[in-house]
Symmetry: C2
Subunit: 460 residues, 2 copies
C-alpha cells in the first residue's frame, strides 16, 4: 500500500473502529466482482454500521483523495459497483435493517443493505407490498436497486424503484449528510435531488436510509401462459387488453430461442410451432381477475394464439417464475459466450427490434435470445456463441453497437434497468447529446469535485 | 425602455417575426398576474410558435442578459410565473397542441401550452386517461403542471404529474435544445435530468414538448360522501380501507368550517353535527367497485360515520366536483383576507396538524379552513379574516410560519403541489439544509450561469 493509503486506513480505523475496516486479501477478493464478467480487486473494504461512520469515511476519503465505491450485493449488470480505479469498497452488509414499517401511512424506512426479498416478506405479513422486483430480487439490495432505478416484471403496472422512493438520507462525497425528498406521499420543495440521486449509480451521494411508499398487497394472482405464432399477434393482443381496460401486473415474453430452452424446464407442454411465449399475470379481487383473464384469453385466441395455459396452482406459478428469474443463468449454462443488454423500445416497435436483432446476430454469427418486460418495451437482448475468444468478444461489441443504433432509431433507449456503469459507457454519446452529457458532468462536479465517489462510472 | 432592451427587442423581431413579440401595454398587462395577489408588469411578451423560436429567444436573452419568465396560463399559486424582475414573459399560447396520441404505446406527445382539460377530453374519446388533475385543470396548462409537478384529487391512487412525464424537449437558457428522459416507458441512461427539470418551476430549462404516459380510462366511477364526527375516525376508516385493499381513486376531506360553507351549495343534506366531510371515489369495473363501496361504507359506519351518501348520478357527481374544485374561490368570496398554503404531513398526523392550525388561527385571530387530498396527507390550510390590512397580512406571515414549523415537526413538507416560487421562498431554509440549498444553487448556475431564466424564484 502507498503511504497515503496506509495513513488513510490508520486514521479510518482510529475513527470508526477496526471491526469495520478490512485490508486482508480474502475480504478484498470477496468484493472484487459484480454481475458482469469483470473483476477488480479493491484496496480495502469498509463495512460501516452507521451513517455517521460513512460520513467520517467520506471526510477522510476527501482528505486523502481515496476512491470510495458503494456496493450493495454485487448483482449489478453494468459494472457500477466495481473498484475499477482501486480504492475502497463500501459495503452495506451491516446496514441491512428495516427500521420501521408504518401501516397507517403505508411507508417503510429501511437501510440500503436490506435484501429486496426480505422486505417483500416482512411487508407481506402486514398485507403490504413494495412492487419493484428485479430478477435478482432474492439477492439484490434496496440500495443497489435505488442506484440503478431497478425495474422488474411488475413494473409495467406499478412503476420502477423510483416511483416508490419518497425520500432518502444521503451522505455526500464531502461527508455532509443531507435529506432528499420527503417522508410524506408528496412534496415539491426545491429541485428534485431525490430523483437525481436515484439512478445515479452511486456517483453523486451515498444512500444511507430510504423512506419507501407501499401499497396494499394484492391478495389474488392469476398467471396465464399464451403461445403465439409471432410477435405481431402478441402486440395486437396487448392493444386489445388496454382497449378492454385490462392492466396486467406483469406481461413478459420469450422468443423462440428462449422457448426452445424452456421445454422440459417448466410443467407445461409448449406447442411445437410456438414463436413467442407470453406470460400474463393479473392481480386484484378474485371475481374480477377471473373475468378479466377470461377476456384476455379470448383476445389472445382472436389474435391467433395456439393455446393458453393457466398456472392454476401457486406451485406451478412459482415454478414458472423461478425459471423466468433464472433465465439469464439458464442461457449462460448452455453457451460459452453470452452478452446481454436491456434495451427499451416503444411497444409497437418490438417486432422491428426483434427482426433487427436476428439479422444482426446472423451477420456476426451469434444466436440471439430475446426475452423481457413486454409491457415496458424492455427487451433483454442476448447475443451468444458456443465459442468465447477475443474475436467473438469483438464481434459482440460490433453487434451490440448495431442493436443500440437500431434501438435509438426506433425511438428507444439503450438501458431500461441495468444502467450505464462501465459496460455501456462507450455508447452513452449515441443516446445523449453533448450538451446533456456536459450538464451531467457539471452536476457530478458539484457533488463530487475531487471525483472520489465511484469514479469512472457512467462517464469519465 | 432601456437602449439595451430596445436592441434586444429589435433583434428578436428580426429573428422570430413581429407577430410573436409584443411590447404594447395592453398585452403586457394581460400577463402581469398569476393565481396569487401579486402583480408585476413585464417589459415585453413573447408568444413563440416553435422550439426554434424559443432557442433564438434564449440566445438573444443570453447576449443581452434579459430575464425570461416562462408562463403557462397563470394559475400558479406561488408566484412562479410572475415577472418579478421585469424582463420578458414567454407565453405558450401558440404552442398548445396535441402532437400525437399513440394508442398502441399509450403515450401522447404534447406542447406545453395545452390545457390539461383539453388533453383529458381528447384522450377520453380514445378510452385513454392522463390522471394528474389539479383543481385548476380546466384552465391550467401541461407546461405549468410540469413546472410545479402538479398534483390533484386523483394523485393518491395514480401519482402526480412527474409520474406521467416520460421525456421532454427542453430549451436551455443558453438556447441549446436537449432531450431529457425517454419516449419509452422506462429508461436509466445517465443522470435523471427529466425529473430535475420537472418541478424546477421554470428556472432550469424551458419545456417545449413532453411525452406523456397514459393509462386506460376507468369506465365506472362511484362517488360517496361520508359525514364524520371527527378527523380521527376518518383516519381510522382510511386504515380500514387499505387493510381491505380498497384503493380509492380519490379521497378528499373538508373540515367543519368548509362544511358549513358547503351547505346549500351541494344537493346533499349534511348532518348538523358533521365535523369532517370525506369524499371517496372508486373507479374500476362496476361489479367490483360496487362491492368495494359497500365495504367502504361499512368501515365508515364502524368508525362512527353519521351517514354516507352516494352521488349516484353523473349530474350529482359533477355538481359535487364543481364545488370542490372551486372551493378556493368560494372561500375567497366570503372573506376579505385569505391565505392558503398546501402543506403535507404523514396521514396519521393530520389530526395533530388540524388541531394545531385551529390553535394558531385562534392565536392570530383568523378563521381556519382546511380541506385537501386526504390520501396524500396534503392539506390546503387557509387562514382567513373579514378584514384585510397590513396588520392582518403581517399576522398571516406569523401564523403560517407556525403552521410550517408544526408541519415540519410532524415529519411533513411545506409544499405538496404549489411549489416555492416567491411566496414560500422565505421558508425554504426551514425545510432544506444549507448544504442542500447550496447544491441546488450550484445546479441553477450550471443551467443558467447568467441567471436569466425565471430569476429570483425558489431562491435568490
Amino acid at each position: 500500500m502507498e503511504k497515503n493509503f496506509t495513513q488513510f486506513i490508520e486514521e479510518l480505523i482510529q475513527q470508526i473502529g477496526e471491526k469495520h475496516v478490512y485490508t486482508d486479501e480474502e475480504r478484498r477478493e470477496a468484493y472484487n466482482f459484480d454481475g458482469t464478467d469483470y473483476r477488480y480487486l479493491p484496496e480495502a473494504v469498509v463495512e460501516p454500521a452507521t451513517t455517521e461512520q460513512i460520513s467520517k469515511l467520506m471526510k477522510l476519503a476527501t482528505k486523502y483523495k481515496i476512491a470510495v465505491i458503494p456496493r450493495g450485493t454485487g448483482t449489478g449488470l453494468s459494472g457500477g459497483a466495481l473498484a475499477t480505479n482501486g480504492g475502497v469498497i463500501l459495503s452495506f452488509l451491516k446496514m441491512n435493517k428495516i427500521i420501521e414499517i408504518d401501516e397507517v401511512n403505508m411507508t417503510a424506512r429501511v437501510q440500503p443493505g436490506l435484501i429486496n426479498l426480505h422486505l417483500h416478506e416482512a411487508l407481506a405479513e402486514k398485507g403490504l407490498y413494495y412492487p419493484p422486483d428485479p430478477a435478482s430480487y432474492d439477492t439484490s439490495s434496496i440500495g443497489g436497486n435505488i442506484a440503478e432505478d431497478a425495474g422488474g416484471p411488475h413494473c409495467y403496472k406499478y412503476g420502477t424503484t423510483r416511483d416508490y422512493i419518497l425520500g432518502m438520507e444521503v451522505v455526500l462525497p464531502n461527508g455532509e449528510i443531507i435529506r432528499t425528498g420527503v417522508k410524506t406521499r408528496k412534496g415539491v420543495v426545491g429541485y428534485d435531488l431525490n430523483n437525481l440521486i436515484i439512478s445515479s449509480e452511486g456517483t453523486l451521494g451515498i444512500v444511507t436510509e430510504a423512506v419507501l411508499r407501499l401499497i396494499p398487497l394484492p391478495q389474488n394472482i392469476m398467471t396465464m401462459l399464451v403461445f403465439f405464432p409471432n410477435i405481431e399477434n402478441v402486440i395486437a393482443s396487448m392493444t386489445g387488453f388496454s382497449k378492454n381496460r385490462i392492466v396486467p401486473g406483469t406481461m413478459e415474453f420469450m422468443d423462440k430461442a428462449c422457448v426452445d430452452l424452456l421445454r422440459g424446464r417448466i410443467q407445461f407442454t409448449i406447442p411445437d410451432e410456438t414463436q413467442v411465449l407470453m406470460i400474463i399475470e393479473l392481480d386484484g379481487e378474485s371475481s374480477e381477475i377471473e373475468k378479466q383473464m377470461e377476456t384476455a384469453g379470448e383476445i389472445c385466441f382472436e389474435n391467433e394464439a395456439f393455446d393458453v395455459f393457466l398456472a392454476d396452482s401457486s406451485h406451478k406459478r412459482q415454478g414458472l417464475w423461478d425459471v423466468r428469474r433464472s433465465f439469464r443463468e439458464i442461457i449462460k449454462e448452455t453457451v460459452k459466450y453470452k452478452r446481454a443488454e436491456d434495451v427499451v423500445v416503444p411497444i409497437s416497435k418490438i417486432p422491428e427490434l426483434l427482426a433487427g436483432n436476428y439479422a444482426i446476430a446472423e451477420k456476426y454469427d451469434f444466436v440471439s435470445y430475446n426475452y423481457g418486460h413486454l409491457g415496458d418495451g424492455n427487451v433483454h437482448a442476448n447475443m451468444t456463441n458456443m465459442v468465447k475468444n477475443d474475436d467473438v468478444i469483438r464481434r459482440g461489441h460490433h453487434a451490440f453497437k448495431e442493436v443500440f443504433e437500431l434501438t435509438l432509431n426506433l425511438g428507444g433507449t439503450i438501458s431500461g434497468e441495468h444502467g450505464i456503469g462501465i459496460t455501456k459507457k462507450p455508447y452513452l454519446g449515441m443516446e445523449l447529446s453533448e450538451e446533456s452529457i456536459r450538464i451531467q458532468k457539471e452536476i457530478k462536479k458539484i457533488f463530487d469535485p475531487l471525483n472520489i465517489l465511484n469514479p469512472g462510472k457512467i462517464f469519465d
